[in-house]
Subunit: 340 residues, 2 copies
């Protein structure tokens, strides 16, 4: 694993005060739950400094302003907004997936129940738009429009994800389209929102958006690999987490769509009802082995590398600040190289 | 019950094409579920023309533009957006409350499951902002800001609602604050958003927002009365629906905070765990009788009338178009007079 680029910790430090200010607007209960989710409070309300995630999206937002020659602070409301939208989706996802832990801590729904998780997520989504629209810039409206559209595509990807679990067959193209929505849309908006707030030319905005979209799919490919083969100590999720819910992730879709002697065996395993409460570890290991044997893992990692190259090409072809471009390139590589 | 003002059917007719266009942007599955929720499709996807609700919020939005001398069409994106936000909250509410029917039809979560209801609601919320921000008006940003803030207050009210169910004691003030959030915030934004889109002076916007806020609390008071004493054939909800979930609605908070011989009996009933699966009809009738005996029903209806008078005063004191003002006054009265 490569070292985390400095822009991640710098981005986290830059946005945290503004993010806390935004969260302070929420009602007492939602504020507590959001602050817990971000690692600032324990479940009991005591100060905490737990892992709040890598904050890739805020870092992208801040760099995208610098990439078009603007100071990163102009992107701050956008950075806060994309982090809120990302975490809205995590809080709702954890509930829908029945995941009891995130970043080695209980999830919001596990602690406070499904209704609280629904409302806390809803509050974060509404707050994201509010923060952005209150920033006072003339470019707030196009930035908010970009974010709203990305949110719609993000949700579209989640809907596809849900549907695919119930379908016997999913093509690699459908699965990639899902990843482009679920992960690519918000990373794309994150990589462009700072440039939009800075009033940059459309060509620069488009190049940054394309970069983010490719990084997003690469990120999802790696995430899917970690969801099957990742080390629980590193991912903070149970081992074989995505297999427990019979999730048709990208490596799985590749394996299921490749002719081979054990394809039917794998298809039959995915067609069987999952047993989330009493997972059979041996069964899960066998399924992971079948996917790996069909080339699902190697394909996903190679495809992630190809997407990263496309992302880098998008940046190289655009008229951008050289220093910020290098930081974006390093960030993209870090996203793809992480633990997989 | 007074006749529905013409502005309601006119508003519904005016916004439906734009609302359908907006919903068409959603992914296939969300589109189907939203179209079902709005009564345009059956669960199987066949065309339908079921009850889509009264569309009070779009009517308010359109009238608020006319009230400041602008054509109602300028408010159309705002009218669509407030209807989407309202229905986002209904879809999530039905899930959280476990309500299996709305407007005499199965709810979205009942038909398609909790995850679908979460995502469908999320999609409607994101779409509301998108529609508004794409309208091309320079006033889109302040209108979107108004809507985002109202959405935050709406969610705050829902959070309070949820908390109050778990608390033994709730004051009338707390309960009124909840109603001001849950219902008042979006009706207030609806009554002002057309004026904001029209670029009206702040004084007119403020008067319309105040009108909507008071109508909202009045509406909730009446809704709470219907939730306990309403006729299921009219409300489309089970009889005593709010009592089944031990909801501390406004009439209940009044009754629980009034000294009287049977106050403790009522408090004990609300402190007991609800039995949503096997409600005891006799128990529910007894609780409804206790609340009525403590003056909860009469107080709620009188308070609704008082709020309506405050709403009317806000409009009368403002510099508004006389015709639109009369329509707003009639609409406010209709909201309070309905079936209660």
């Amino acid at each position: 694993m490569s070292a985390a680029p400095a822009c991640l910790s710098q981005g986290r430090a830059a946005i945290t005060p503004a993010l806390r200010d935004a969260v302070d607007r929420l009602d007492h209960r939602s504020r507590h739950q959001v602050a817990y989710h971000f690692g600032w409070l324990t479940a009991d309300g005591a100060p905490d400094s737990a892992d709040a995630g890598k904050a890739v999206r805020p870092a992208l937002a801040l760099l995208s302003a610098e990439a078009v020659g603007a100071p990163s602070r102009i992107a701050l409301p956008g950075a806060v907004a994309v982090e809120l939208v990302h975490n809205f989706s995590l809080v709702h996802d954890d509930l829908m997936d029945g995941d009891e832990e995130r970043r080695h801590r209980d999830t919001v729904w596990k602690l406070w129940g499904p209704s609280s998780a629904i409302l806390t997520g809803d509050a974060m989504l509404a707050l994201a738009q509010e923060v952005l629209l209150e920033c006072g810039l003339a470019t707030a409206a196009p930035a908010a429009r970009l974010l709203a559209r990305a949110t719609r595509h993000l949700i579209r990807g989640q809907v596809q994800d849900l549907c695919f679990e119930q379908r016997p067959h999913v093509t690699v193209e459908e699965c990639t389209d899902m990843a482009a929505g679920k992960t690519g849309a918000l990373l794309s908006a994150s990589a462009a929102i700072g440039a939009v707030l800075a009033g940059a030319p459309q060509a620069a905005v488009d190049a940054l958006a394309l970069y983010g979209a490719h990084v997003g799919v690469a990120f999802q490919l790696v995430d899917d690999v970690l969801g099957i083969w990742g080390d629980p100590a590193v991912t903070g999720k149970p081992v074989h987490s995505d297999l427990r819910s019979r999730k048709k992730s990208l490596p799985v879709s590749h394996a299921l769509n490749r002719d081979g002697p054990r394809r039917d065996e794998l298809a039959a395993w995915f067609a069987a009802p999952g047993e989330p409460d009493e997972p059979d570890e041996q069964e899960l290991r066998r399924a992971a082995g079948l996917i790996e044997g069909a080339g699902g893992r190697d394909w996903a990692l190679a495809e992630a590398a190809r997407r990263t190259a496309l992302a880098e090409a998008a940046l190289r072809d655009a008229d951008l600040d050289a220093g910020a471009r290098e930081e974006l390139l390093a960030l993209g590589r870090f996203v793809v190289d992480r633990e997989a």
